[in-house]
């Protein structure tokens, strides 16, 4: 049975849970958030991605109520939450440092928010047990935070922020302090918990892999602006700018001049080399400056001239061997270096190519994306 695809952002009938309307935030003369509009929908796992200082943390802190917008409004379920202090918002936050109370046990940490609501003892006990089961913390009930490992602390922080059943959960670099293996496991755990609880998650991260793994939609930010907001696959396959293409994953960028006929574009990029071919939905004027973005894994590498639309001859400059894949840096006669990636399906002793080999690199005319900026 085909599942219904979760995509409320494509449905004009859907009311967003959070709406940023022309939000600007300034600290003194520094503009952290610049006239930003954004809709986040219920049950979404929304990732804010960007380099440090791009404003993603400020955006999150405005949602939590620790900062108020200088201009514009933020609405939660249709209500302006600009003046609502953090302790009265149906929003909880999981802090980057976890911010667990060191003098309280795991149980007391998770129960902290529930006790403030003045719930009765039985209800608190039930809810805390439920949260501890969800995050597999039953064994650590009476431990203090300093007696836990990094991964366990992370789970306590998550359980504590979920205990009050918030409409919206904010996660500030939730996995930053974990090592790589644990981080990957935890990413799936997070998605699992998000699905089980049905809470809307907004995650801030600078790790693009993490954002792509967990999120239903990713927003790439730069200097207080949203550069692109889309699903992970669209962000990766169809970046709207060189900035996004470069920020998400590895990419070769070739600068050239466009000669468009229909949806085909010839990119003239070098005096000595033939033009490259690409298809596009956009319209480029004659000789307009354009950027061809091509992912290394879409570039083939072979000893003989292939029949693909774009084929270039070069010399292997470097090989990055990563175990499962190898990245070949191929230098063209024009001086450009193009990265090509191949899966290592054979044992390394049987590798075709080595340093200084003359090779052909190629890609089809639909493999690359043409960008205007």
């Amino acid at each position: 049975m085909p599942q219904k695809v979760f995509a409320p952002w494509d449905d004009p009938q859907e009311k967003p849970l959070i709406q940023f309307k022309n939000v600007t935030k300034r600290f003194g003369s520094f503009t952290a958030i610049d006239n930003l509009n954004l809709d986040i929908f219920e049950r979404e796992f929304f990732a804010l991605l960007g380099p440090s200082g791009c404003g993603k943390t400020t955006l999150m802190r405005m949602l939590a109520g620790f900062e108020t917008p200088t201009e514009g409004t933020i609405q939660l379920s249709g209500k302006d939450i600009g003046g609502v202090p953090p302790n009265q918002r149906a929003v909880n936050m999981m802090f980057q440092s976890y911010a667990l109370f060191p003098h309280l046990s795991v149980w007391e940490n998770i129960a902290f928010g529930l006790k403030r609501e003045g719930k009765d003892k039985g209800a608190i006990e039930t809810r805390v047990s439920e949260m501890m089961r969800l995050t597999r913390l039953e064994k650590f009930r009476n431990r203090k935070p300093h007696q836990l490992s990094g991964g366990q602390r992370q789970r306590v922080a998550l359980a504590r922020s979920l205990a009050k059943a918030p409409k919206l959960l904010l996660l500030d670099e939730p996995l930053g302090a974990l090592d790589r293996k644990l981080r990957e496991e935890t990413q799936f755990e997070l998605m699992d918990i998000q699905e089980k609880t049905g809470t809307t998650f907004v995650i801030v991260t600078h790790d693009q892999e993490e954002a792509m793994t967990v999120a239903s939609r990713v927003a790439v930010m730069d200097e207080g602006k949203l550069v692109q907001v889309a699903t992970p696959d669209r962000i990766y396959e169809g970046p709207n700018s060189v900035y996004v293409a470069d920020f998400i994953g590895d990419v070769n960028i070739i600068e050239g001049r466009a000669h468009q006929t229909g949806d085909k574009v010839q990119v003239i990029w070098s005096e000595s080399e033939p033009p490259l071919m690409a298809t596009t939905q956009k319209n480029f004027s004659l000789d307009q400056k354009c950027y061809m973005a091509i992912r290394p894994e879409k570039v083939g590498i072979s000893a003989d001239r292939p029949t693909a639309a774009n084929a270039l001859k070069g010399k292997i400059l470097d090989i990055a061997y990563l175990g499962n894949i190898s990245t070949y840096h191929v230098e063209l006669p024009s001086g450009h270096v193009i990265k090509a990636q191949e899966a290592n399906t054979r044992r390394i002793a049987r590798r075709h190519f080595t340093w200084e080999d003359e090779v052909w690199i190629s890609w089809t005319d639909t493999a690359a994306v043409l960008l205007e900026q």
Partner: protein, 296 residues
């Protein structure tokens, strides 16, 4: 070998400057008063050989300690000292906590200056600072002159030579010892803990009581001991600022030594005072250890 020396040095130091003097004081406390120089018997006569040591040992007794229990001056003085030390420690905490809290909240660039201001009084002699309080608190002192000038009072307040002056003196003198450990505890406090508390539904005030206050507890305990221990045996402040009715064991000790010249009784008073102080000192050590453990 090097390790042995490193361990031996502090122990030898403690042996020479703490244990040996303590044993001498204990020996005097077990002796009897006598009009001689030094003013007690027995004297150890090593020239008499083994018999001399035996005679010396036989002459020692606990008479002076029994005497302390028979005269109610002493236990009243101990109790009164305890009371004054407890109350003034509590008052120092009340005054010191807000100061430490303010320092911890101050912008980073202000903190070294504020810290400097707290430590600055140490650059002047303790004695001079206590004397200057006499100038402030006396009937014609600065405080009374100021209050009369503003018209708040029309009769000068009698503060000097009362217990109030002693409390003021102790709180003033030992305030830095309270502020510094509390400040150290508050300064380490992660600001995101308070944000987390607010995020989970706390008001600013309840976040303070539920997070800041318990997390500064170890600092408060350390500060209280650092004030309580010296305040208990305090002698200069009660004798300069206190009146004849101010009874403190430090003063009694001084009088026994220098007015009565009864060294054995004075030594007994000192030994008992030390034994009383061992309890809070041990508790203080425990607190420090627990704190270090929690930080690990």
């Amino acid at each position: 070998m090097r390790r042995l020396i490193l361990i031996a040095v502090p122990y030898l130091w403690l042996l020479a400057f703490f244990l040996v003097p303590f044993l001498i004081v204990l020996k005097i406390a077990l002796s009897d008063y006598n009009l001689s120089i030094p003013p007690y018997t027995p004297q150890l006569d090593l020239s008499a050989g083994w018999q001399g040591i035996k005679d010396f040992y036989d002459a020692l007794d606990f008479e002076n300690f029994t005497f302390l229990t028979s005269d109610d001056l002493y236990w009243k003085a101990y109790l009164s000292s305890l009371k004054i030390a407890v109350i003034s420690t509590f008052m120092t905490l009340l005054v010191g906590y807000p100061i430490a809290y303010g320092m911890a909240q101050a912008p980073d660039e202000w903190r070294p200056t504020l810290m400097m201001l707290v430590i600055l009084p140490f650059w002047t002699s303790f004695l001079i600072r206590v004397y200057s309080w006499m100038g402030i608190l006396s009937n014609e002192g600065l405080l009374n002159k100021f209050l009369l000038w503003t018209g708040v009072i029309d009769q000068p307040l009698i503060i000097l030579s009362t217990n109030t002056a002693v409390y003021i003196g102790i709180v003033y003198t030992y305030l830095p010892f309270m502020i510094l450990p509390i400040y150290a505890a508050l300064e380490k406090l992660d600001g995101s803990l308070l944000e987390a508390a607010e995020d989970l539904g706390c008001s600013r005030l309840s976040a303070f009581w539920l997070v800041t206050f318990p997390l500064s507890r170890s600092g408060m305990v350390a500060g209280c001991f650092l004030v309580f221990i010296p305040a208990l045996g305090e002698f200069v402040i009660p004798s300069l600022l206190g009146g004849s009715s101010t009874l403190m064991i430090g003063k009694v000790l001084w009088e026994e030594f220098f007015s009565n010249r009864d060294w054995p009784v004075a030594s007994a008073v000192a030994v008992v005072l030390l034994l009383i102080l061992v309890i809070p000192i041990v508790l203080f050590q425990r607190n420090q250890e627990r704190q270090q453990e929690a930080e690990r």
